[in-house]
Amino acid sequence: MTMRTGRRRGLFRTAGLLAAGLAAALTISACGGGSSNPLDTSTSAAASGPASGSAAAGGGKIVVGSANFPESALLANIYAAALTKAGLDASTNLNIGSREVYIKAIQDGSIDLVPEYSGVLLQYFDPTATAVSADDVYAALVKAAPQGLVVLEKSAAEDKDAVVVTKATAEANNLTSIADLAPVASTFILGGPSEWETRPTGVPGLKEKYGLTFKEFKALDAGGPLTLNALLSDQVQAGNLFTTDPAIPANDLVVLEDPKNLFAAQNVLPLIRSDANNAQVTEALNAVSAKLDTATLTELLTKVAVDKQDSAQVAQEWVAQNLS
């Protein structure tokens, strides 16, 4: 009898595991730079309905929204601080949710401005888009933006997938770009999220664009602690992290360049309602984009994510020091 209940418990546990695995995978896919999660139902902005105070051209209050991850909130705070510094009336409505939610919010006027990433935003507006280089993506995005929304100047800051190696590995094998892996790939184990094994911008793409065949692929996580641990303990010699990950400077990791644009450009830029935009707003936001690069963004994100400083405070300090 004990045996029978024991087995039934085992089967239930397997079913429970499937559900738990599903939940875990959904959580994993929800984080990471600029990915969108269609199951995210947090609708704080959408629920607030069409805002009564949508900015009229030339002077109303500008509401800056953000996606539900720290980097997006930090960028929104930077935009708000820059607008305030330029003498405009700006407020924030942060951590709204996924792209599906906050794009609706900006279209119905609940928010007026949101920080975005060029590559994923282009894919959102035009799923058939094929542009990969920074300039091509930006040009295509300017055309693809729907009526009533515009993108302003892109910054040099990018948050995207990267192939990362330790400093020791880079020095020992003379690595600065993914292409340099060619002579050593057959002895390297590559680590990344499970989906990298089959995704075009993963193992197949590395083979197709760079001719790299690794000794083995090890499934880890999407640019998280498992990948970092595996890199630092040399279980994998090359791993997938996101370019603005504070762990990269903290552990002296080397981001390999991607000259063939395997990973489409993901430049940070402001997406704004046309009716909230004017010359003064454009000038203030373009000034932010001119100063912002990946190293700066990583440094600011480190203050927020690692040192646990207040996001708005970090944004204000940076704006005060860097914008005239």
Partner: protein
């Protein structure tokens, strides 16, 4: 790949019958070794902890609260949550394999201890006092009573606790893949991430097959290690010469019925 379960079932069959999926690092044989490795290591550690502890508690009658309180509380711990908690701590404290393997094994040990501990305790505590007294009367010391009388008599319950622990551990070892370890869980986790549902179903199927096969093997082992005097097999074998009273006992009925 379609929404229909039927397509995934036949897809899983195609996956399982493709020899390419059985060889190499990600092949079924290697994943089987990993899955069994995690499970057996955890079971061995759990046995070393729970068997002596359960035997002592059952024999002495002391610390029985440990069984009802602690062991049952351990059953309530959610394995996946505990694994992620321990893995985050492990990554913070150690480098390399041990940072993740340690937490995964610990979670499985915590899962395996309660059934072994409570069954060992219950088996020994419920040994017929008459048998125990007889053993003492024959001049056996405390440890001789435990090893020669109580443990053999408790063995059916201990074995059933071990089988219960084995099933839970084999099924749950699947979550080791969540923290980048191997085992059959890789197929489930990777299948989900890669939307390769055939591989996912195949992985779940392999876990189920391993659990059932392992359970049968333990049942057979139990068949041989448990004293024939406890199972009634000895009586049945003696059938030709059996008395009426023996037959009644063999049918599992009490002999002292009117």
């Amino acid at each position: 790949m379609g929404p229909g379960g039927e397509g995934q079932m036949s897809g899983a069959w195609t996956w399982l019958t493709d020899p390419a999926n059985w060889s190499g690092t990600g092949g079924v044989w290697n994943r089987l070794l990993q899955h069994l490795g995690y499970s057996l290591l955890a079971l061995a550690i759990a046995l070393v902890i729970a068997l002596p502890l359960g035997a002592l508690i059952g024999h002495t009658g002391r610390l029985t609260g440990l069984v009802s309180g602690v062991a049952n509380a351990l059953r309530a711990l959610p394995s996946l949550g505990l694994l992620i908690l321990l893995a985050l701590w492990g990554l913070h404290t150690f480098k390399g394999d041990i940072a993740l393997l340690g937490p995964a094994i610990a979670v499985l040990v915590i899962l395996a201890v309660p059934p072994i501990l409570s069954n060992t305790y219950a088996g020994i505590a419920n040994v017929d006092p008459a048998a125990r007294d007889a053993a003492r009367g024959m001049g056996m010391t405390g440890s001789q009573v435990l090893l020669r009388v109580e443990l053999p008599v408790a063995l059916p319950l201990i074995m059933s606790g071990l089988r219960s622990a084995f099933l839970q551990v084999v099924a749950t070892a699947t979550i080791a893949a969540v923290v980048a370890l191997g085992g059959f869980g890789r197929y489930v986790i990777d299948g989900l991430a890669q939307q390769n549902y055939s591989m996912m179903v195949a992985g779940a199927f392999l876990v189920a097959v391993l659990a059932v096969l392992g359970d049968r093997i333990l049942a057979v082992i139990g068949h041989f290690v448990i004293s024939p005097g406890l199972t009634g097999r000895a009586d049945r074998r003696r059938k030709p010469a059996a008395t009426t009273a023996d037959l009644v006992v063999a049918r599992g009925e009490t002999a002292d019925r009117p």
